[in-house]
């Protein structure tokens, strides 16, 4: 018990009487008490003024402003991470289709063509669904604004979708101009989303602006391959590609973690909901690599697909967490 506390307790004991005396006086003899030369402290507050309890929540935080966010997170709903996945699958499929034709595997090329177009169609639908004013989706192609990855991406998606549709009506037999064009737009489609999120003020995204495209590309490949595995497509090409892409994805993920660093900026990939998703995705992807090696292709496909989807949502979630944390924004750039 500190001296102050003892004094306090002491004060408490004495108080009631003294108080009553005063109350009494209050009712009886005005003169007497009014003139009382009693220099006792005022109220009980003063008695233990020295003893001040721990100060409650201080008004302003010393760093920043009440720890409120500095930047705002993207207002996107689940549609957008879902699109990242679909678009990636589509892009990688277009690329792989070229490779399939190169390997003269027309059956696989045809399947990949369908997969690519499906991805493009679903992806476009998801994007429109996320708009605040969906009826104005066509404004996306109102201008050509090279500074805007989203604008560029829209043109890529458009072109890629066009070529994809063309492929459906007139499947190419060999590696022709249309296919090569589709491979190029596909490559763009698989990677521009990495540029898109890197091109923001969200620390967890922008600090990895060069690693993100690699991750998106590799993950796109892995996702497409996983879907084929899941669909039971038996093709050595696919297996080789799956192995390569999945491994690449694991590497790229490390690169992303490295570019965010071990500090506050990288926190979202380690902690919270986004951290769980991210780490989960890594484990699943690792497992799916093993499954691919063991030729348990359907298992590998399932694991890889899950990993692909989780990766996109992990990154999206990490963005929210990162934007909400002023420390990340106010932290010196790595």
């Amino acid at each position: 018990m500190t001296d102050a506390e003892i004094a306090r307790a002491h004060e408490r004991e004495l108080d009631p009487e003294r108080n009553d005396a005063r109350a009494e006086a209050a009712l009886q003899d005005a003169h007497h008490t009014a003139a009382a030369p009693d220099a006792a402290p005022i109220g009980d507050a003063a008695a233990h003024h020295e003893h001040v309890a721990p100060v409650p929540a201080v008004a302003a935080s010393t760093t920043g402003y009440y720890d409120l966010p500095v930047v705002k997170a993207a207002p996107w709903k689940w549609f957008v991470p879902a699109y990242f996945y679909a678009g990636g699958v589509a892009g990688a499929s277009s690329l792989l289709r070229g490779a399939a034709l190169l390997a003269r595997d027309r059956r696989l090329a045809k399947q990949l063509g369908r997969l690519a177009f499906a991805g493009e169609a679903i992806g476009a639908a998801l994007l429109v669904a996320d708009l605040g004013k969906p009826q104005r989706f066509h404004h996306m192609m109102r201008v050509v604004r090279p500074t805007s990855p989203m604008n560029v991406g829209t043109w890529i998606l458009g072109a890629s979708g066009l070529l994809g549709a063309l492929e459906l009506v007139r499947p190419s037999k060999r590696l022709d101009a249309a296919t090569i064009a589709a491979m190029i737009t596909g490559g763009g489609l698989a990677t521009y989303t990495g540029v898109l999120i890197g091109n923001t003020a969200v620390p967890a995204w922008s600090h990895a602006r060069t690693a993100m495209p690699a991750l998106f590309a590799a993950s796109a490949g892995a996702s497409a391959a996983s879907l084929l595995e899941l669909a039971g497509v038996r093709s050595p090409l696919v297996r080789r590609f799956a192995l390569a892409a999945k491994t690449a994805e694991l590497v790229a993920a490390r690169a992303v973690e490295a570019s965010l660093g071990a500090g506050v900026v990288g926190e979202p990939l380690r902690e919270g909901r986004s951290g769980k998703l991210w780490r989960g995705a890594r484990w699943l992807q690792g497992a799916s690599v093993i499954a691919t090696v063991l030729r348990a292709s359907r298992v590998a496909g399932a694991l890889g697909t899950l990993a692909g989807v989780m990766t996109r949502f992990a990154i999206h979630e990490a963005g929210r967490a990162s934007a909400a944390d002023p420390r990340a924004t106010l932290a010196p750039r790595t």
């Binding site: 399939a100 605040g132 990677t191 003020a201 060069t210 495209p213 490949g221 696919v238």
Partner: protein
């Protein structure tokens, strides 16, 4: 193109009356943001948003002079020389006007929301009910009629000044010099490209009586698009790499294992 204009907001003159917040809402017909006591000094609107385009911050601190200092700042869109929102906007809804200001055309915006994370100051916001992105317009409509923006006009202590940014720059520099001589810890924020390369300078800049962080301003804001070239290069390489993997998978090792 008419001359480039902007705001000079001087925290050393701000009395936190919030006339700017209300004058802005009055002119621009903005709704309230709800009625909640935050307990953060006298700041109950918390941040700039879709329906709050001027926002007054209240930082309570202890200081050597008073024992307590109460610093107030009216925050607003910075109308950056290199504007993240502008360069990110895919629809061309966001434009740079003849006054050098950044304006979101509500008749074009389709609410993709990309400008929101693209702003290094967290200014732009997408309205939940309306679906479009909103922020300070520098009273574009008023400027077209040679009227000064509503907030600057209302400000009782001229803490908010509107005018050609060249003149405002000179004024701000002189002001900071004078304040320094009076022993006030005053500094400029974002007045030029030299001072703030990350944005190449702001058209709405500030005289601050504290570190930028105290008013939730990033000390070294970066317009994201400044690094976009490197991203595209990385994307190109990544795409090529993916292509290589695919083609490699096709060429090496035959059709049978």
């Amino acid at each position: 193109m008419s001359e480039t204009v902007g705001f000079l907001t001087d925290t050393t003159l701000c009395i936190g009356c919030k006339a700017c917040e209300v004058a802005c809402k009055q002119w621009n017909q903005l709704p309230d943001d709800g009625f909640a006591l935050t307990g953060r000094s006298y700041d109950n609107t918390t941040a700039l948003g879709a329906s709050t385009w001027r926002h007054v911050l209240f930082a309570e601190q202890t200081s050597t002079t008073h024992g307590i200092a109460w610093k107030m700042m009216s925050d607003v869109c910075k109308h950056c020389e290199r504007a993240g929102c502008l360069e990110a906007c895919p629809t061309g809804a966001i434009i740079r006007t003849e006054h050098g200001s950044i304006y979101i055309q509500p008749d074009v915006c389709n609410g993709c929301g990309y400008c929101v994370p693209a702003c290094p100051f967290g200014v732009v916001a997408r309205s939940e009910d309306d679906g479009r992105a909103w922020k300070c317009t520098l009273c574009y409509d008023r400027l077209q009629g040679q009227l000064e923006p509503a907030c600057a006009k209302a400000c009782p202590t001229d803490s908010i000044e509107f005018g050609p940014i060249e003149r405002l720059r000179e004024k701000a520099t002189a002001r900071v010099k004078a304040l320094r001589e009076q022993g006030v810890d005053a500094r400029l924020y974002g007045e030029s490209a030299e001072a703030q390369p990350g944005t190449e300078g702001l058209h709405a800049f500030f005289v601050l009586n504290d570190r930028p962080e105290a008013f939730n301003l990033p000390p070294d804001p970066q317009v994201p698009t400044k690094g976009v070239g490197r991203s595209w290069l990385a994307a190109g390489l990544a795409a090529a790499g993916l292509a290589a993997l695919a083609i490699g998978a096709a060429l090496f090792g035959g059709t049978h294992d």
